[in-house]
Amino acid sequence: MKFTLINNLQKDSAMSLILKGFLVFILLYLISNILVMNSGFGISIEDISTTLFGNEEEYIDPITEATFLEFWHTEIFFIMMILLTLNAIFIRVAKRSRIILTNILMLSAVSSLISLPLAYYISDFFVNIYVLAFFTWHFIAIYVIFYSFWKLNAKSV
């Protein structure tokens, strides 16, 4: 991540353009992720509960443990790599509030990932925490993308 070493990103037009392109891709990923989750795993408390525990009235079987673990495993990897790279750009361009936003972004993402197995193995109450944390980290990530984009267009970084 050589961009962390460049003194003035705004003056380096090529690097600035590359990072803006990358931010667009992360934004597209986050929006697509919400849409795909909505049609598959679910993004509402009812839908996620149905996916995890099934629904006898509608003859829907619960997700198998192997499928659940594969989903969880994949989610962890994608989220960790996306947030590491996104946060590296954000830290580089932001001056104020970067510590607090990093904490909220990362803590909500970690909470969403921890609450998922807790919901599956322990109590369906954790589905509520998962949904809250899922939307929190997505919205903060989207804010961070727009903020970083704006700062990369500013006169000096």
Binding site: H73, L84, L113
Partner: protein, 148 residues
């Protein structure tokens, strides 16, 4: 290193531990931690109606892992360059061992499929050594960030 970068790396380490936890749970659920269960998963069991895996099937499973193991190892190990462990002899050994165990963990199933059943032990051994090394590297980074 700036405080914000240190914070970001600490969270990355937390995600890494979560990834390892999920990997252990997934391995236990799909394969199992015994010699017999590893063999059964790859070469099948007629009495229990478990089909044998094909080489292509195994390749499809390990395909994303080739990229992920490489990327995860590279990201974690490259953070060591920013710590006091930079260019130490032990760090060089650690880098070699991490990549080698990752390769062994991924490719031993092909030997099992070709009749070398002993490689089931190596599969289990390399799986745990690789995860132990990732935890060890995470600990080195955590200690360096927190105390150095």
């Amino acid at each position: 290193m700036q405080k914000a970068y240190k914070l970001s790396i600490l969270y990355y380490l937390a995600f890494t531990l979560l990834l390892i936890t999920s990997a252990v749970m997934l391995f236990e659920n799909k394969i199992g931690f015994s010699y017999a269960s590893v063999l059964e998963y790859y070469i099948g069991n007629e009495e229990r109606f478990i089909p044998a895996k094909s080489s292509l099937g195994v390749l499809k499973i390990i395909l994303p892992h080739i990229f992920v193991f490489g990327l995860l190892s590279m990201v974690l190990l490259h953070f060591l360059v920013f710590t006091a462990h930079r260019y130490k002899r032990n760090t060089i050994i650690l880098i070699y061992t991490t990549f080698l165990t990752a390769i062994l963990e991924m490719f031993t199933p092909f030997f099992i499929l070709n009749g070398y059943e002993f490689f089931a032990y190596i599969k289990l051994f390399s799986f745990f050594v690789f995860l132990a090394l990732v935890v060890y590297i995470s600990w080195l980074l955590f200690y360096s960030i927190t105390y150095d």
